[in-house]
C-alpha cells in the first residue's frame, strides 16, 4: 500500500470513527501502525470503546486497540498526580497557575484529553512571579536540567519559558511559561490577557485558559511554534476542542475571531480552522469562517504552498517509503518554524551555534 493510502485511511477514521466497523483486515494492518506513528492510536482506541466495535472488527485488531490504552491511562494518572504535587509546592505563593495543553485537557476533563499521551506539565504564570515559582519548585525537588550555558541564556533571555525542570525522584518534567510564544517571535499575544481570562478548574488554585484561548493556543502552538512534523496529533486536539466548545458553549463561535484579533493570532487561527476543516471535517459555521478569512488569510502564494507542505508534514510517511517530496517539505517547514520564532539576525546566530555545536561533543547532563 502506498504511503498516501495510510494517511487517507487515518483521516477517514478520524472524520468518522464509525469507519472502524467497515475496515478490512489488510486495512487494519495499515491503520494501526499509522495511528501509532501519528501518536493517536490510544485516543482512537478510547473513542472506539464508545462505539460498538464488537463483531466486524477482527479480534486481533481489537486487542491492539486495547493494548494501546494502558499507556494513555498511565499518562493521565501521572499528569493528574504531577499537577497535584505542583499545586502543593506552589500553594503558599498566591500565584495564579494556569495549566496549558495536555495538563489542561486532562485536569479540565475535556474530550481533547481522552487517550492523550503526555506527561510533561506546562504552566503559564505571570512573568513577574516566575522567579518565585522556580524557587518553590526547586524547593519541592525539581531541578534545572543541565543545559549548555548558551541554551540557558537563550531560554532566559529570549524564550517564553524557563528551561524545563525535572523532579529528582519522580523524573517528571514541568515547563513554566510566561508567554505562549517566544519574545523574539513575530506575533506577540499578551500573556496578561490570557491570564485575566483564565477559568478556574479547582479554585482557588488551578486555572485553565478560557475556551477561545485554548483553541488559539493550540492553533498557535501547531502553526507558529514548531515545524508541524507529526502535528496530526495537535490538529486532532484542536478539532476536539472546537467540536466540544462549539457544541457546549453558547457564543463560542462568535467570540473566536474577535478574540484572535485582540491577541494578534488571526493567522494561526486561519491555519488551524482551514486544516481542521479540510482534513478532519470539523463543523465550523460559515459566519465564523468568513470572519477568520477576512482577518487572517495570508497573502498568495502561502495558502496553496502551506497546503502542500503541511499535509505532508502533518501525516508523515513511513521511513521506509519516504519520498523526496516529503523530505523537502519537512526541510521547508523546519526553516519556517525558526523563521517565525526569531528575527533574521538572531536566527542566523542561533542556527550557526547549533551547527557548530553539532560538531563539538558536549555533555548534556541532567540533574
Amino acid at each position: 500500500m502506498k504511503g498516501r493510502a495510510d494517511r487517507d485511511l487515518l483521516l477517514a477514521v478520524l472524520r468518522d470513527p464509525r469507519r472502524f466497523r467497515t475496515l478490512e483486515t489488510d486495512e487494519w494492518g495499515q491503520f494501526v501502525p499509522a495511528a501509532r506513528r501519528a501518536g493517536i492510536l490510544s485516543r482512537l482506541a478510547c473513542l472506539a470503546g464508545d462505539i460498538d466495535v464488537e463483531g466486524p472488527v477482527p479480534a486481533r485488531a481489537r486487542a491492539q486497540l486495547g493494548a494501546s490504552r494502558p499507556l494513555a491511562e498511565h499518562h493521565a494518572r501521572t499528569l493528574r498526580w504531577e499537577v497535584a504535587r505542583i499545586r502543593d509546592a506552589l500553594s503558599g505563593l498566591g500565584v495564579k497557575i494556569v495549566l496549558l495543553k495536555g495538563a489542561a485537557y486532562v485536569v479540565g476533563g475535556l474530550p481533547a484529553g481522552v487517550g492523550r499521551l503526555a506527561t510533561d506539565v506546562d504552566l503559564l504564570v505571570a512573568r513577574d512571579r516566575i522567579e518565585d515559582v522556580e524557587r518553590a519548585l526547586v524547593a519541592a525537588g525539581f531541578g534545572a536540567m543541565k543545559l549548555h550555558p548558551y541554551d540557558q541564556r537563550y531560554y532566559r533571555r529570549w524564550a517564553h519559558e524557563l528551561p524545563p525542570l525535572r523532579h529528582a525522584r519522580r523524573r517528571s518534567v514541568v515547563d513554566v511559561h510566561h508567554g505562549i510564544l517566544p519574545r523574539t517571535a513575530r506575533l506577540h499575544p499578551d500573556p496578561a490577557k490570557l491570564l485575566a481570562a483564565a477559568e478556574p478548574v479547582e479554585a482557588p488554585d488551578l486555572w485553565i485558559l478560557c475556551a477561545e484561548d485554548l483553541v488559539l493556543h493550540s492553533a498557535t502552538h501547531l502553526f507558529q511554534d514548531g515545524d508541524l512534523v507529526g502535528g496530526l496529533r495537535d490538529l486532532v486536539d484542536l478539532d476536539a476542542l472546537l467540536r466540544d466548545f462549539g457544541e457546549r458553549r453558547a457564543g463560542f463561535w462568535d467570540g473566536l475571531a474577535p478574540r484572535a484579533l485582540e491577541l494578534g493570532l488571526t493567522r494561526p487561527l486561519w491555519y488551524g480552522l482551514r486544516f481542521c476543516r479540510r482534513l478532519l471535517d470539523t463543523p465550523i459555521p460559515d459566519s465564523t469562517w468568513r470572519e477568520v478569512e477576512r482577518t487572517g488569510r495570508p497573502a498568495w502564494p502561502l495558502p496553496a504552498l502551506m497546503d502542500a507542505l503541511a499535509l505532508r508534514a502533518l501525516c508523515p510517511e513511513r521511513d521506509d517509503r519516504r519520498t523526496v517530496g516529503t523530505q523537502i517539505a519537512r526541510l521547508a517547514l523546519y526553516t519556517r518554524s525558526h523563521w517565525l520564532r526569531m528575527p533574521p539576525a538572531l536566527l542566523a546566530y542561533h542556527l550557526a551555534r547549533k551547527a557548530l555545536r553539532a560538531w563539538i561533543p558536549r555533555r548534556d547532563d541532567e540533574l
Partner: protein, 317 residues
C-alpha cells in the same frame, strides 16, 4: 496449519523479500521481512517449527531488516532495522543482521502487547508447574532456561513472561533462545548435540547465538501455565551453587522493578503481580556450573504455595 519447515527455502526467500513471513508467536503474529539473502537460511532453521498465520493475515508488528543506504550498502556494509516501517535502532554492521532481527522482535514483544502484564523473565514449565526466572540481561536466565529445556522442560519464553491482567496465567511466547558469550560454550558442554543457529561475534553484547526452541514448546504455544515458583538466577564466576529463599515482598519488588510495563498497568498491575507472587515459592539461585544449577532446580520441589495473608484494598475517602 502449515509451518515454516513445510515451505521450500525459495518460497521463504520470496516471502521475506516480498510481503513478509507471517508467523504465530504465542498469541502474537509477527510479519518478518528482509532483503538480506543471508538471513533466509537462519530464519528458516530457527523458526522451522513455527506456524504460518495465513488464516487471518493481520500482524501485531512488522520487522524488516534491510541493507544500509547509499554508501553503506557496499562500503563497510551496514543494515537497518525497521519496525512498522519506522527506523528502529542505529544502523549496524550487516554481519550482525541475525541478532538484530531477534532483538528487534524482542523489542516489539516487550513494548507492544500492553494488554498483558509483561515481566522480564524466562518462563519454563514441567508437570503443570510454571517456573519464572526473572533477571536482567547477563543474570543467566536464558542460559538456565535453555539448560532446563534441554532436560525436557517446556519453553514458554526466554525473555518475557506475559500475564493477562487479573489472572495468574503465564502465556507462552516461544522464540529462539538467545545465548551470549560463555553461555554458548556452557550449553554445548551441557548438551553436546544441541542445535544452535549461527554465532555472530562482535555485537554490543559480545558473541551471540540462538538455540532453536523445541517443536513441542512451539506446538504448545497456545497452552498457558500456572506459576508455582520464582527463581532469581545470579550467575557468578566461581561460586558454589546455592538456592536460598527470598521473601515475597522482596521477590515482588525485584520482579516489578524489572517489568516492562508494571507501572503502566496501575493498580491492576499491582494486584496481578501480587497474585502471581502469592502462588509462588521464591528463591535466588547463585550458580556458576550449569549442571549443578539445573539439578538444584530439578531436585527442589516448590512447596505447595502458602497463600499470602491479609490482601486488602482500602479506599480512603
Amino acid at each position: 496449519m502449515s509451518r515454516v519447515r513445510d515451505l521450500t527455502a525459495r518460497a521463504i526467500g520470496e516471502l521475506l523479500r516480498g510481503p513478509g513471513l507471517l508467523l504465530h508467536i504465542g498469541p502474537l503474529v509477527a510479519r518478518i521481512g528482509t532483503s538480506l539473502i543471508e538471513l533466509v537460511e537462519p530464519t528458516r532453521s530457527l523458526y522451522a517449527g513455527f506456524a504460518i498465520a495465513d488464516a487471518e493475515p493481520l500482524e501485531d508488528f512488522e520487522v524488516r531488516i534491510e541493507r544500509g543506504t547509499l554508501l553503506r550498502r557496499w562500503f563497510a556494509p551496514q543494515a537497518v532495522a525497521f519496525v512498522d516501517g519506522q527506523r528502529a535502532f542505529a544502523p549496524f554492521p550487516r554481519s550482525h543482521c541475525l541478532p538484530m532481527l531477534e532483538w528487534a522482535i524482542n523489542w516489539c514483544v516487550f513494548t507492544r502487547p500492553n494488554q498483558y502484564l509483561l515481566l522480564h523473565s524466562a518462563v519454563v514449565e514441567r508437570g503443570g508447574r510454571g517456573l519464572l526466572l526473572p533477571g536482567r540481561p547477563g543474570a543467566g536466565k536464558s542460559t538456565l532456561a535453555a539448560g532446563l529445556v534441554l532436560r525436557g522442560w517446556r519453553l514458554l519464553s526466554d525473555e518475557v513472561a506475559m500475564v493477562p491482567p487479573g489472572t495468574t496465567q503465564l502465556v507462552p511466547v516461544p522464540r529462539p533462545v538467545g545465548l551470549k558469550n560463555g553461555s554458548i560454550d556452557a550449553i554445548r558442554r551441557f548438551a553436546p548435540d544441541v542445535v544452535l543457529g549461527p554465532s555472530t561475534a562482535g555485537t554490543r553484547k559480545g558473541t551471540v547465538a540462538h538455540m532453536v526452541p523445541p517443536d513441542d514448546s512451539v506446538a504448545r504455544g497456545t497452552e498457558p501455565a500456572r506459576p508455582a515458583w520464582i527463581v532469581f538466577p545470579r550467575f557468578e564466576s566461581g561460586v558454589a551453587t546455592e538456592l536460598r529463599p527470598v521473601s515475597r515482598p522482596e521477590a515482588f519488588l525485584r520482579v516489578a522493578y524489572q517489568s516492562f510495563n508494571y507501572s503502566m498497568l496501575g493498580s491492576v498491575g499491582f494486584e496481578t503481580l501480587a497474585a502471581i507472587v502469592a502462588r509462588c515459592a521464591c528463591y535466588e539461585l547463585r550458580y556458576h556450573d550449569l549442571d549443578e544449577a539445573v539439578r538444584a532446580i530439578e531436585e527442589t520441589d516448590p512447596a505447595p504455595s502458602r497463600p499470602s495473608s491479609g490482601a486488602r484494598s482500602e479506599v480512603v475517602p
